[in-house]
Structures are given as C-alpha cells and as structure tokens.
C-alpha cells in the first residue's frame, strides 16, 4: 500500500469551496464526555476473572516495585527514581495489552511498564542507578530506551510502526507520554505523522495532574487532552487511569484497531502522581495534602482489590499470597541492587561508533594509561 492509497488519504484536497467537504466526520473522533470506567459498574461482569486477577497481581507487584526503588534511592543505590505510585493501572495495562512482537515506547517514568512487559527488574533500573544509560537490548523484548527528553519517543514509535507495516509485519507500537509532554512539538508532529501514514500506533497519555510542579491548568486549556485527537483526524479516548480493567479495555481496543489497519488512537488516562516528581522533588511546595488524600481514596490497587473481593474472586489468602510474591520480587531486587555493578571505564569508548575513530582510540589509550597509573602508582 502506498501512502497515496492509505484509507482516506486521497480525499482531503479541498475541492473548490462550492463542493468543499470535510475529510472525515469529526463526531466519532471526539472522546466521551466522561472518563470510561469499569470498576463498580456492570461492565466489570464481562471481564474474565483471570484477567482481573492478573491485573491485580501486577498492580500489587508494581506498587511494591515502586516502593522498593524509592527505598533504594534513599539508600543511595539509585541516582534518582521517578515513581509511578498511583499510576500502576496505566503502567500495567500498557504492558499487558501488547503481544510479544509489539513494541513499547516508555517515557522516563515508565520503568514499571517495562517490568510488567517482562524486562528484568534490575536491568530496568540501570539508567536510574547510573551504571549505564539503557540497561537492556531494546530488541530483545521490544522495549525502546526509557526516554528522558519528553515526547521525543513518540515519533520513534510512529516510525517503527510505519516501518513494520511497510514490511508487512503485524506489529503495533504503544507509546507513553505524560500530560506535560503533550505540550511539546514532538507530540504534535508524531500524532500528525501517525495519522497521515495511518501507522499502527497507540498513544497513551498519563494525565497525572502535574508536570513536576506545573498543574494541568497551566499546561492546557483543552476540554480534555483526548480532544487533541480530532485535530489529527484520529479517535480520542478518555479513561479513568486508576481503573485497571478500564484502561486495559480501552488500550486493547486501540491496539486491535491499529492492528487491523484502522490507524492510531490517542488515549488519555486520568490519574494522579501520588509521590513527589522524583526523590529530589518537594511536592509540598506546589500541592496540598488534601488533594493527595482525595486521590488516595481512588487508589488503583484498592479499587481493583475491592472489586475482586466483592465479587468473590479474591480472598484474604489470595491477597496475602499476592503480597508475598511481590515481597519476594522486592527482596530479590534489593539484593541485586545492593551489589555494586561491574564497571569498565573503557566501555565509554566502545559504543560511540561501530569502529572507534582514530581520535577515540587515542583517548582510550590515554584513559587506559591513567587507570593503570591509578592502580599501580609508581
């Protein structure tokens, strides 16, 4: 299929105004008036108990992972940790809706999504521990490097999805970004390219209320972030980001749509960042305890736990077991992170180019000599 032949791409060259027609009907692109919810509604009946239990186990594990990583930071084992506590439903759902062959494009806060997708919990922390940048081979689990420059990963996801489609591969890319990241030009350009190319990509915006200290009201005046979709001619969906099955469903539908050639979707998940921006941040400077407390009442783990126990799909024993499994994971992570990483300073020169330049060889020799002198000072 050429770009020319993409569904609908041919249409919107405006005919002379007397016959002007919009390319698509905007109505179906607009998000619902309210974030979509499952928990506490009848819709929850339709979900397989297995999926709900899986989600629950992952949420508990994720919550524990966040706590462990935060503790490691306090102990000086990590350089920094941007916690996704309170946002676990989004993190987990984003990972679970994808097939093995699909690709995940995480933002810097999305370590948890990587782990839920099967990435080694310790390797996922390499960047934040500081022994290297990306701690894993992206191709192995099809997880792009955690992206620190905000929104820059979105065009990558589009390009990759587009390339896969051109090759005839049945691959979907899911890209994550924060509410703050939607203000960047890269967000705009990525969504536009995706729409024009009808690339199989899903954009998940976690609207957690803040970009560091900046509240959403200073970030956008849009009715919702999902409303941005119509400006690209793609559907926008709004979902309660703390309702794990709801996020799972909305993302699954978007992934399925992308997979069958229906093009990209923009999903806004309304959630909240319970912890400070990172361990280095002081959230009391810009928000009140009351707000945080209110959101704690709408906690993704508790919401799902309540639903599961209410429905008799989970008992005390199950809760305890799940917690124990998470504890085991945390203990293992702690042990591994408490071991000092093996460092080879000479690696600094190893990956800059396929072959080091003559200049890098000179510099490597210089460092080598310095290291030798350090070890064996005559």
């Amino acid at each position: 299929m050429t770009v020319q032949e993409l569904p609908g791409a041919a249409a919107y060259r405006p005919a002379p105004p007397p016959e002007w027609k919009p390319r698509t009907d905007p109505a179906p692109l607009l998000p619902d008036a309210e974030p979509y919810r499952v928990l506490g509604t009848d819709t929850a009946d339709g979900f397989a108990p297995e999926l709900l239990r899986r989600l629950y186990a992952e949420l508990v594990r994720g919550r524990r992972y966040n706590a462990q990583a935060t503790a490691l930071t306090k102990q000086g084992r990590l350089a920094v940790y941007p916690s996704s506590t309170g946002q676990e439903a989004c993190e987990v759902a984003a990972a679970l809706v994808l097939e093995e062959r699909d690709w995940l494009f995480p933002s810097y806060r999305d370590t948890l999504a990587c782990v839920a997708r099967g990435l080694d919990p310790a390797e996922a922390l390499t960047l934040l521990r500081g022994d290297w940048h990306t701690g894993y081979d992206p191709r192995e689990r099809r997880i792009a490097p955690l992206s620190t420059p905000l929104a820059t990963q979105l065009p990558h996801a589009v390009g990759l999805a587009h390339a896969a489609r051109l090759k005839g591969d049945d691959v979907v890319a899911l890209a994550m970004v924060g509410d703050g990241g939607t203000s960047e030009g890269d967000f705009h350009e990525a969504l536009n390219f995706a729409a024009v190319w009808q690339a199989p990509v899903v954009f998940l915006v976690q609207n957690n209320g803040f970009a560091i200290s900046v509240p959403l009201a200073k970030q956008t005046a849009a009715p919702s972030l999902a409303h941005k979709a119509v400006g690209y001619g793609i559907p926008g969906r709004l979902v309660d980001g703390n309702d794990a099955p709801a996020v799972h469903q909305v993302l699954s539908e978007a992934v399925a749509r992308a997979r069958r050639g229906g093009g990209p979707t923009l999903v806004e998940a309304v959630t909240y960042r319970i912890e400070a921006h990172t361990n280095a941040d002081d959230a009391t400077r810009y928000r009140g305890d009351g707000e945080v407390a209110a959101w704690r009442e709408h906690d993704p783990v508790q919401l799902l736990e309540r639903e599961l126990t209410g429905r008799g799909l989970l008992d005390e024993e199950g809760v305890r077991e799940t917690a124990e499994q998470a504890e085991t994971m945390a203990a293992r992570l702690r042990d591994r992170m408490n071991a000092d990483p093996e460092l080879d300073p000479m690696e600094l020169f190893r990956h800059v180019y396929t072959e080091p330049t003559p200049q890098l060889l000179e510099q490597a020799a210089q460092l080598r000599a310095e290291l030798d002198a350090e070890e064996d000072p005559r």
Binding site: E184, G185, K218, L348, L360
Partner: protein
C-alpha cells in the same frame, strides 16, 4: 579563590548608596536568584519564564521566591515546550519586555535551537538594528552532579558558533550576580551558561552591596603565575585552581585565566597572559573535538605564535556522549589530567 581581578573596581551607584553590610556565605544559586530579583525590582520590563520557575522556584531553586514577590505574571510557569518558551519570549522582547528564560537542563534547550539560531541570534541584524532583542537564556550546563542521561551536556560549542549571541558563564558567586545583571541589562541576546555543579559553591558575598563586575567580554586572571597559562571557564575553574596549587610542588607556577565570556572573546587578556608565560593549556568539560578549546587554542596560536614554547594543549571531555553517573569522573577533566597536559608542554625541548 582570591582573584587578582582585572575588573574595574568602581562600584555601581546602587552599591555605593547602600551601607556595606558584612558579606556572608552565599551560594552561586542564591547570587543568581538575587540578580534576577534585583533586576526585576529595578525594571518592570524584566520577566522570568520557564518550566517550574514559579511556584516551585525552579528545579535548582534559582528562581525561588520571584513569583511570590513579583507575581506570576512576572515569573511564569509555562507549558512544557522549550521552543514555545523561547519563541514567546522573542515576542515579549519585541514588545519591549526583557525576558529571562530558564531552560531546565542543557539538553532540553535543544528543542529551542531553531528559535535561538534563526530568530534570537538574527533579529537585530535582519532588521538593521531597529528591532534589538534583549533576552537572556539561562542554561544550567555541564556535569559532575550524578545526573542521568541528557542531564549533563555541555553545549557551549553550539552557542559559540552562532553569531549574534553573547555567551557568558560565571565561575564564582560574585560573577554569577554581576554577569547575570549585565546579561539582563544587555540589549543583545545572551546565552547565560550556569555551571550546575557550582550552584552550591559558596563564597563570602553581600547581596546588599555586591561588588561590581567587569562588563561582559572581559576575562580575568584568577591566579598569576609565570610558567604556563591555564585558560578555562565555568565548572573547570576550580579544577584549574586546584591544579595550579598542586603544580607548585612540581615547580610550575601556573597562571589561571577565567574567560567568563566566550562571546565576545577577550583576546587581549588571554594573549597577554600567554605571551608572558609562553605556554598554555585550555581546560573545559565539553567534548574536545569541535569544542570551545579548538577555537581558543587556534586564536591564541594565531596571535602568540612566536611566544609559544609548545603548542597550546587542550584538556577536555572525551569525544563521547556524556557518560552515566557512575563513570562521569573518568570523563571530566580533573587535576591529574590538567597536570599531565602541563607536563607535556615541552619543558626540556624549547622550540
């Protein structure tokens, strides 16, 4: 650090008017904050904008208290979009304001490069001087703070290669205040590079009576010496001063020049020093290849060729992406690497 300053010693009017209070230890971050505060108090046209600069006071707290004192219209939390921040600041300056923009980290200024290169640097020139653009872009730069990927870049080479910009970087608390005041007062756009790892460096300094600092474009000899000149700026100044102390044991009496301003460049002060000493090493954290040191070494050599006993050497970051925190100490020019370079200045050979 007790600089043998070449700066004029006359203090500003404000400074002489106020009774001199005893200087207390202040950090560079505090001096920078104070510079903006004083500029805002004096001139209602001065506006501060950027990500998290208002309520939070900036991730390094350099704008702490400004929104409270002057209101959110004078110190504004913007949406998260660097090109938008700089682009709107251009418009504000076109209307007569004097915006001071904060980029949160060095690498996050890159999205704003088109605005900087194609508009900020050129506005005065393209309009035949009718539309000057008094605008300061504050960029925390450099490493040494254990920052993860994209948080420790040194991008001064990009700014230096862009005619129309002034490029300034303080290395002391006193200069932080004086140069930022000068930058805000300048009718030309200034890229103001703040060495991240010196934010918490301290010096005795009185905000009530800040010492006057030379205008933009003047380097300063921070330590006099006769054997060789270390030419440096920003985060590498303390390294060079320490190296100079250590060099005494080897019998080298090193002069240390703090450039302070990369554009305009103070050929006079630098070359006067090199002509005296006959040897020079340029020291900076930025990568060597294509970095500031090439320009500096080349222009010093052009001007002092027959005074040089050895080629001007460079000690710089390696030509690699900035390393992860646990390896950055191997990348950053340290005292030993500076001394090694000094040792290679052909002390035996002569020329």
């Amino acid at each position: 650090m007790s600089p043998a300053s070449t700066a004029p010693t006359a203090s500003t009017e404000a400074a002489t008017a106020a009774p001199r209070r005893p200087a207390k230890p202040a950090t560079m971050a505090q001096a920078l904050q104070r510079a903006m505060r004083d500029a805002m108090a004096e001139d209602p046209a001065v506006h501060v904008l950027g990500e998290d600069v208002g309520t939070l006071g900036g991730v390094f707290r350099v704008t702490d208290g400004l929104a409270k004192e002057f209101g959110e219209d004078r110190c504004t939390d913007t949406p998260l979009a660097e090109a938008g921040i700089l682009g709107t600041a251009v418009g504000m300056a076109m209307y007569g304001l004097r915006p001071v923009v904060e980029m949160q980290f060095d690498a996050f200024a890159y999205p704003a490069f088109e605005q900087l290169l194609s508009h900020v640097a050129k506005m005065r020139n393209r309009t035949r001087g009718t539309m000057p653009l008094p605008l300061v872009v504050r960029v925390p730069y450099g490493g040494g703070i254990g920052g993860v990927e994209h948080h420790s870049d040194s991008s001064e080479a990009y700014y230096m290669a862009t005619p129309g910009l002034q490029v300034v970087t303080p290395a002391t608390v006193e200069d932080a205040y004086g140069l930022l005041r000068a930058a805000i007062a300048s009718d030309d756009p200034v890229v103001f590079l703040e060495p991240k790892r010196l934010y918490w460096s301290k010096a005795d300094w009185s905000p009530e009576a800040p010492a006057a600092v030379a205008p933009i474009g003047r380097a300063v000899v921070r330590r006099t010496g006769r054997s060789a000149t270390l030419i440096t700026y920003g985060p590498s100044l303390p390294v060079c001063l320490e190296a100079a102390e250590a060099a005494e044991a080897e019998g080298w009496d090193l002069e240390v020049v703090d450039l302070r301003s990369l554009v305009p460049f103070d050929d006079e002060t630098v070359c006067a020093s090199v002509r005296r000493t006959g040897r020079a090493v340029v020291v900076h954290e930025s990568s060597g290849f294509g970095g500031p040191g090439g320009e500096i070494a080349a222009r010093v050599t052009e001007r002092c060729f027959h005074h040089l006993e050895a080629p001007v050497l460079r000690v710089a970051g390696f030509d690699i992406p900035y390393p992860p925190p646990m390896l950055e100490r191997h990348h950053l020019p340290g005292v030993d690497r500076v001394l090694d370079a000094v040792a290679r200045l052909q002390w035996e050979a002569g020329s």
